[in-house]
């Protein structure tokens, strides 16, 4: 099949979130299909400033197909016409969060969220019929919200929806009724989106595929002089990811005199308080990441909104138990399905659950092993790709 994968930004140096998910899925689909990535020239998802040159390029390690000279994924980039007005966006976001946005303001929210790439929309309008299926990632971005209706008869949406106020806006009910099929990341996301107008469409819950974790080189941690034991937060350090609450919970935990370190690995977009037991590492490379996941006693996931936690799956891939925010239905659901960790809803529960994991080392290890077994059951690439192929055939 000739497939297009539409995503708001794409690049070898863009790893996380829906962009990373799109890239992994596209690379694996490229083994069987003719895949084109349709995206913008932006690298920065806050400003949408143009960074990459427009036009066609090749990215990634996909081997060349028969008759082709170049390997890699075919990428079509279109320029962003207007950078995001952050103040306007914040004001509209407040209206949406307060459930007071008019239908015009709801549509404005999507426009202002961006990226505003009219040439990308024009490409879909003119050439969309040339693709057998067009897969769209992340409903909240303008390229998807305005682009999907242009090729609705062949569109498959990967909504990456979270239980935030946006999902309840009225404008989404007619939007979610348009795609021919859906690829969901978790059963919780499927329930959420189905309740907003997607019920009855062909769909599959795929999550994301993982390869078996390679043995980590623990010597990469020597120069970091981390305490033993430590618990790990991995990802962007941001209040929206629950990090302010995590730091608050952990500071209360540390007041009890327990000698365990919180290691926070990832780029920070918020101040991290100076604390003898909190250790920010900033961005870490893949080898350090693997070593941290191997050596940590538990992964902590404080995010209140998630459509799928890839970091959680990675932790289980290393047999690491998790402690997650129970207020996020997706995280709690993942932990309960896997029997792979514990959850907390407030500071007192955080303290009790972390104590439990540290005091019951064998039970904690068993939770980690059960997490790994869950990844083996649900998230290995052949299993994930087979589900996608079945949906591509069914739509």
């Amino acid at each position: 099949m000739k497939l297009a994968c539409v995503v708001h930004r794409f690049g070898a140096d863009i790893a996380g979130g829906s962009e990373g998910h799109c890239r992994l899925i596209a690379e694996h689909l490229a083994a069987q299909h003719d895949v084109t990535i349709v995206t913008t020239c932006a690298r920065d998802h806050i400003t949408w400033k143009n960074h990459y040159p427009p036009g066609e390029s090749r990215i990634g390690l996909v081997p060349p197909k028969r008759g082709e000279r170049e390997g890699g994924l075919r990428v079509l980039r279109f320029p962003v016409a207007r950078e995001r007005d952050l103040h306007r966006f914040m004001d509209l976001s407040d209206l949406v969060a307060a459930d007071r946005a008019t239908s015009y303001e709801q549509e404005e929210w999507f426009r202002e969220n961006g990226p505003d790439a009219p040439e990308l929309l024009e490409h879909l309008r003119r050439h969309g019929a040339g693709y057998d299926r067009v897969l769209f990632w992340a409903y909240r971005y303008a390229d998807v919200y305005f682009g999907l209706p242009l090729v609705a008869d062949r569109a498959i949406l990967v909504p990456t929806a979270e239980e935030d106020p946006l999902i309840h806006v009225d404008a989404l009910a007619p939007f979610f009724a348009q795609p021919k099929g859906f690829l969901f990341l978790t059963p919780e996301e499927e329930t959420l989106v189905s309740s907003r107008g997607a019920a009855g469409k062909p769909s599959a819950v795929i999550g994301c595929g993982l390869d078996t974790a390679a043995a980590a080189d623990l010597s990469r941690l020597d120069s970091l002089h981390l305490a033993d034991p430590f618990v790990l937060y991995l990802g962007r350090i941001d209040p929206n990811k629950g990090c302010a609450a995590l730091i608050r919970h952990f500071q209360r935990y540390a007041e009890n005199g327990r000698d365990v370190q919180l290691v926070m690995a990832g780029p920070a977009s918020m101040p991290i308080p100076e604390h003898p037991l909190i250790r920010p590492l900033g961005f870490v490379d893949d080898d350090v990441r693997e070593a941290l996941l191997t050596r940590a006693r538990a992964l902590i996931m404080p995010s209140p909104f998630e459509s799928l936690s890839m970091v959680l799956l990675e932790a289980w891939n290393h047999g690491l138990p998790a402690l997650v925010n129970a207020r996020c239905k997706v995280l709690r659901g993942q932990v309960e399905r896997a029997d792979g960790g514990l959850y907390y809803g407030n500071t007192v529960e955080f303290i009790a659950a972390l104590d439990y994991l540290l005091d019951h080392a064998e039970t904690a290890r068993q939770l980690g092993r059960q997490g790994l077994a869950y990844v083996d059951r649900e998230y290995r690439w052949p299993i994930v790709i087979e589900k996608i192929e079945a949906l591509l055939r069914a739509v």
Partner: protein, 157 residues
């Protein structure tokens, strides 16, 4: 896997029981409600409030709809600049507000906005708690009335 499976719900049940016990002891020690000396009462109150906070959709509550009369009680966390003047004068005033005054005062607006958002969330949580209590009260009233009407027809012993 040869080891016995660890059930998360069982472990969490144990942890949550322990947390409730510690919380109850803490409140009793600090002079909280005397009724909390009764574990059953504490657990029932805890469950009711937890239900209001965790299980209710804070955007779908009855009380805010009823309060929404002549006075707008809702915190406005978004910025909306207006003027009562019409025509060119109005447009000039709005231009000055947006291009000169707003950039100068934006830091103050954004500084206070987080606190307003927090207060807004707390208001909605309190609405949810009140609504949960009203529901509980209504259910109890119905149970009592049903029991009372059933007992009317029974012969006295």
């Amino acid at each position: 896997m040869t080891e016995a499976r660890v059930r998360v719900d069982a472990v969490m049940g144990e942890i949550e029981r322990d947390v409730r016990a510690r919380l109850r002891q803490h409140l009793v020690k600090k002079g909280g409600a005397a009724d909390y000396q009764d574990e059953e009462i504490f657990d029932a109150v805890h469950a009711l409030l937890a239900r209001a906070i965790d299980e209710r959709n804070l955007d779908a509550l009855l009380l805010p709809e009823l309060v929404d009369g002549d006075v707008d009680w809702r915190l406005q966390t978004h910025l909306h600049l207006t003027t009562h003047r019409r025509g060119l004068a109005g447009r000039c005033i709005l231009f000055v507000k947006k291009t000169l005054l707003l950039p100068m005062t934006r830091w103050l607006f954004e500084y206070s906005q987080d606190n307003f958002r927090r207060q807004d969330h707390l208001n909605r949580v309190l609405f949810a708690c009140i609504e949960e209590l009203a529901l509980e009260n209504t259910r109890l009233r119905r149970t009592i009335e049903t029991a009372a009407s059933a007992s009317v027809g029974k012969p006295a012993r």
